[in-house]
């Protein structure tokens, strides 16, 4: 029965829909929302492009691989890490030789993560400096300053914090989530031309608005045929799944909202686009906060089952990185000050009690209107 009803809903989604709400619009709005993120112009040229986002995700992947060498006792060089972050003076291992690398040769890419971290925020420089200082901390720890390898993770000997997690998952918030929810779905990137193809000669058949929407999508996933339940996904495509998908339906809702919004833009249906912007923002925030809750539950479970402190602190670092991400929403439920207060509540992982972990978790759940039962089972 479950299979059948899923099928029905898929048919419903892909069906031609007419919006009664679009009465302000003179045109009769009628268009198809595809099952996959495939859109083309009237000549059949694909109008979808988010290669820059794929490259940045590849970069964060390679950065993370490099950072994790510290877990096996190797020295992590801060300068190299910062060069990777700014894509300057570093030769990427991903050189395009493996066709499985979607972003191709990163050495040919002009994209970088650093100038897309908190970009456009008044505190942009502070945000980027936060990551630069985490990189310095990781490097110092790998050289023996305030670092110890516990349960296979290089962590701060004084606080239990794990730089690799704070950086990787922190950038998922400050770079990827920020660009989805605030930057590309924000007014300055949405109130743009939606009639003229940018540069058909160069293969850019999309309008400016279509492209901005695609860039937001590209920070969510690089899969055209996104499967909310597949385990092959990475970054937000992955973390919107799992228990968040199971209990909150985030991955499915995001996939639908991105496809619906993109179809609306191509049909110049701005009311629907705006509704989908709100849905993406709400569901992305649930993915961010839901994942933070998921890791706090894991940390509590570690306490309860007497797991090693290194394992528990690893989960706390993951949780903190996602909590940090909560400040980057386009319609954020938590202010920066509230996020920073939660982070300061967990400034020393080793002194955090089970009650402390639950207090932070409950604050997130309350702020996001997540029910007690979902909170407990995320």
């Amino acid at each position: 029965m479950i299979i059948k009803s899923n099928l029905l809903s898929m048919i419903a989604i892909s069906a031609v829909i007419s919006f009664a709400s679009c009465t302000n619009n003179d045109d009769d709005v009628s268009y198809t929302i595809p099952d996959t993120y495939e859109f083309s112009d009237s000549d059949g040229n694909s109008t979808v492009s988010f290669s820059g986002q794929t490259q940045r995700k590849d970069m964060l992947g390679e950065i993370t691989t490099y950072m994790k060498t510290g877990n096996s006792g190797m020295t992590v060089d801060a300068q190299q890490l910062q060069n990777m972050y700014a894509n300057s003076g570093y030769t990427w291992l991903q050189n395009g030789s493996d066709p499985a690398d979607l972003g191709g040769d990163l050495n040919a890419s002009t994209k970088q993560l650093q100038n897309k971290t908190g970009n456009g925020r008044p505190d942009e420089a502070d945000i980027q400096n936060y990551f630069l200082s985490l990189m310095d901390g990781l490097s110092a720890a790998s050289n023996g300053t305030d670092g110890e390898i516990l349960s296979g993770y290089l962590q701060s000997a004084s606080t239990g914090k794990e730089w690799v997690q704070l950086i990787e998952k922190g950038l998922m918030g400050a770079c990827f989530y920020h660009n989805i929810s605030t930057y590309y779905l924000g007014d300055s990137k949405m109130n743009v031309d939606n009639t003229t193809p940018v540069d058909p000669e160069a293969g850019k058949y999309y309008t400016e608005m279509e492209h901005h929407w695609d860039e937001a999508y590209g920070y969510f996933t690089d899969q055209i045929d996104y499967d909310p339940n597949a385990s092959t996904k990475r970054f937000w495509g992955k973390y919107a799944g799992g228990s968040r998908e199971e209990l909150l339906g985030t991955a499915t809702a995001l996939s639908e909202a991105f496809r619906t919004g993109r179809a609306a833009i191509s049909a110049d249906d701005m009311d629907t686009r705006d509704q989908q912007i709100s849905i993406v923002r709400e569901q992305m925030e649930l993915a961010v906060g839901g994942t933070a809750i998921y890791y706090l539950n894991k940390a509590f479970n570690d306490l309860s089952s007497g797991a090693e402190a290194g394992t528990k602190n690893h989960h706390l670092a993951e949780a903190e990185a996602f909590i940090y991400g909560l400040m980057f929403g386009g319609e954020a439920s938590f202010s920066k000050a509230e996020v920073e207060e939660m982070m300061s509540d967990m400034s020393d992982y080793n002194s955090l009690t089970g009650a402390d972990i639950h207090a932070i978790r409950d604050q997130i759940a309350t702020g996001l209107n997540i029910s007690d039962s979902h909170r407990d089972n995320l």
Partner: protein, 373 residues
């Protein structure tokens, strides 16, 4: 039985391929065409089962542990005032340890939220940290490290030393008072609201009372009974035989003479829990239990026949524990092979309960085993 079980120890992964798993999967698929929200074809009265567990076993169990904690604390206070003996404190500790075995299986809900199990009985205890705590004097509740709190820390203080200075007595009272606070909190939570919630959640889905109870039952049996009470002392961690005994891993190491009693009592506790049996005025009363649940599935391999296997294996295991001689810390060294053969009987129950029973009842095992088996 023992050859078969040795094989299971060597190759634990293989047991998941036992055919029992086909049953619940089919049941779920076929049931999808029916009407009810239950995912098991049995018409068993889970509501009565939960009421029996809650009202007759769990809440009285926590009440008893709470009372034993108070008695232990009071004996320590009187001992500190010079009006009672160290021997009396030791007897109260023994009673608290026994009482704990009866509530240890319920490591979900209030116990989980209050981190009761790790707070009460994390061992081996860290004696040097306890000495440090005595020097510090002030009370800091446990955060991440629980191995200098609870019964094992009290065991160290009461049983390792025959005389106590005032700083040690202060620490003892802090530790016993902590037990009173914890046990009171969990007992009250069950009484106030959680018990009613527990009884009203009658499904078998993730997060349901049956799922939480059975997962906790299995996890605690597997990790805190089989592995901790005997496995680690004989030098077996999960599927790995490390080749020599670890005598300092026994429960209540400093008392030295409790370890086997506590193992035996723990298995009795699981036997009663499985059968739904409880005690009124020291009279054993048969209540609705997991045995009845299995029997309700019919006279078949994974119904009443599985119940027969479990009943039999519990008796075999109790008899095997009776062959151990106290102190366990010496026996696991002098008679390691014999001790391992007892462990193998305890391991057989993991297979029957965690694999076969959970499969038959259609309840998913949701806890991850952190030692790879």
């Amino acid at each position: 039985m023992s050859n078969k079980n040795r094989l299971l120890i060597l190759n634990n992964a293989g047991r998941v391929f036992r055919p029992v798993f086909i049953l619940p999967i089919l049941a779920v698929i076929f049931h999808g065409c029916g009407s009810g929200s239950s995912d098991n074809s049995s018409s068993f009265d889970r509501s009565s089962l939960l009421s029996n567990y809650c009202d007759n076993i769990i809440i009285p169990g926590y009440e008893d542990f709470y009372n034993k904690s108070i008695q232990l604390h009071e004996s320590v206070v009187l001992y500190s005032e010079g009006t009672s003996t160290l021997q009396d404190c030791r007897e109260q500790l023994y009673n608290s340890y026994l009482s704990w075995q009866r509530v240890m299986p319920f490591a979900f809900g209030p116990a989980y939220n209050n981190l009761l199990n790790v707070s009460v009985n994390t061992y081996p205890t860290d004696a040097s940290q306890i000495e440090q705590d005595i020097l510090n004097g002030i009370w800091n509740p446990p955060t991440s490290d629980f191995d200098h709190f609870g019964l094992p820390a009290i065991d160290y203080l009461l049983n390792f030393k025959d005389q106590h200075d005032s700083d040690e007595l202060v620490r003892l009272q802090q530790l016993t008072s902590h037990l009173v606070d914890l046990s009171s909190e969990v007992y009250n939570n069950w009484n106030d609201a959680y018990g009613a919630d527990f009884k009203s959640s009658t499904g078998t889905e993730l997060g349901s009372s049956i799922s939480q109870l059975l997962n906790s039952f299995n996890q605690v049996y597997e990790q805190n009974v089989r592995k901790q009470k005997l496995g680690l002392p004989v030098g077996i961690s999960g599927a790995i035989d490390i080749g020599n005994s670890l005598p300092d891993k026994v429960e209540a190491f400093y008392a030295n003479t409790y370890s086997i009693d506590l193992l035996y009592e723990a298995l009795l506790s699981f036997q009663d829990l499985y059968n739904g049996d409880y005690y009124l005025n020291e009279q054993k009363i048969e209540g609705l239990g997991l045995d009845d649940y299995l029997i309700s599935l019919g006279e078949e391999e994974y119904g009443s026949e599985l119940d027969d296997d479990i009943q039999n294996q519990v008796e075999v295991s109790l008899a095997a524990i009776s062959t151990l001689s106290s102190p366990l810390s010496e026996y696991v060294v002098s008679n390691r092979d014999e001790a391992i053969s007892v462990y193998i009987e305890l391991q057989a129950l993991v297979v029957l309960w965690k694999v076969d029973m959970m499969g038959s009842l259609g309840v998913l095992v949701t806890y991850a085993d952190n030692d790879g088996d």
